[in-house]
């Protein structure tokens, strides 16, 4: 099953997003990672890499990110890791929910999960 990693500048936010998506995603493996590793806001490449490895069961991982440096640190983590992983260019909460649901399909691939996460960009709320 394709795994998910949620990266936020706040560990609390990442945990919350993973919690929301987990309600819809059933068995989907979702790892939440955030913060600067010193108790403050930020993102750290090493921690994201560890989360990617924890989320992978051999079928690859889609990474959802919040803002700015989360993207750069996720890129570094993917380059460093041996796991097949991609970043989804999606709003982090809506994208994670979409990805978690898509990952439950037996036909899901890293690409199909990423596509559905990115489809959340077009969702209108009003």
């Amino acid at each position: 099953m394709v795994g998910l990693v949620v990266v936020s500048h706040s560990q609390t936010a990442a945990d919350g997003i993973a919690e929301v998506a987990g309600e819809m995603g059933g068995e989907t493996r979702i790892e939440a990672v955030g913060g600067d590793g010193q108790g403050g806001f930020g993102t750290v490449a090493d921690n994201i890499e560890a989360a990617i490895e924890a989320a992978d069961d051999g079928d690859g991982v889609v990474v959802l990110v919040d803002l700015g440096s989360a993207v750069m640190n996720a890129e570094v983590a993917i380059e460093t890791s041996d796991v097949e992983a991609v970043i989804a260019d999606a709003p982090v909460l809506e994208g994670t929910v979409n990805a978690a649901v898509t990952a439950t399909s037996p036909k899901a691939t890293v690409e199909s999960v990423r596509e559905q996460a990115e489809a959340a960009r077009g969702v209108e709320k009003l």
């Binding site: 600067d36 590793g37 993102t43 490449a45 440096s69 750069m72 890129e75």
Partner: protein
């Protein structure tokens, strides 16, 4: 320990000392247009890097630079971790055969390429790239076209980086957190360009101590702040 390895370890230690000294200045610059963490992040990261490279058993230049970069990646976080640390790791293989004029140019170019690729910034965006691009182009031209010794070329490159830092003051940010401020970013010096200059100044100091002194002082009147790119391709 090779002399070259020793020099690179000393350079990392010198950068760590300098960034500790400049911690509050960098934070002040960053509090004007960013999130006020650049001074603390850089000081903490480079202090950890200096400790890590001091513990290497056989510190050759490539291993020292790679270790410093990996430490910055894990300690700094934010955007500075990948930009400064990730780029050091990526460029470190250029120093596999040690420090020469040729390998130093290749290292500088690869480092710049990674910073630009990762941060997607160009000259004029009010980022570290504004200091780095003229510095790297000037270094390459001084070595390859003007046939200068590496230390003298580095001295010219530091002067170019200083002009790049000055150039960030009057312009409007279009990358990074400062870009959210729009025109309000005008008049503030970019912290990333500034820390890049400090790092280069320390490299020059250590290189001067370990190598030959520059034959002449850099000529501030020459080479534009923003080389047009073709300068380096001659």
């Amino acid at each position: 320990m090779s002399d070259e390895g020793e020099a690179v370890v000393a350079a990392v230690a010198a950068v760590a000392d300098r960034l500790e000294t400049e911690r509050s200045h960098l934070t002040d610059l960053d509090s004007a247009i960013g999130d006020a963490d650049h001074g603390g992040n850089m000081a903490r990261g480079w202090a950890a890097a200096a400790e890590a490279v001091a513990e290497l058993d056989d510190p050759e230049p490539m291993a020292v630079v790679k270790t410093a970069g990996k430490t910055l990646l894990s300690e700094v976080g934010g955007a500075s971790g990948p930009l400064y640390g990730g780029s050091l790791v990526f460029a470190s293989p250029e120093l596999e055969d040690g420090l020469t004029a040729e390998s130093s140019v290749a290292f500088a170019e690869t480092y710049l390429e990674k910073v630009q690729d990762r941060g997607d910034a160009r000259v004029g965006d009010k980022t570290m790239v504004d200091a780095l691009v003229p510095a790297v182009h000037t270094f390459k031209k001084s070595v390859e076209v003007d046939d200068m010794e590496p230390v003298a070329a580095l001295s010219k490159a530091v002067a170019a980086a200083q002009r790049g830092v000055d150039f960030t003051v009057p312009i409007r940010a279009s990358k990074g957190r400062a870009s959210y401020l729009g025109w309000r970013s005008v008049g503030h010096q970019d912290p990333g360009a500034t820390s890049t200059l400090y790092i280069m100044e320390e490299l020059l100091d250590v290189a001067t101590a370990y190598g030959e002194a520059p034959e002449e002082l850099p000529d501030h009147a020459e080479s534009p702040t923003i080389p047009d790119g073709e300068v380096t391709e001659d």
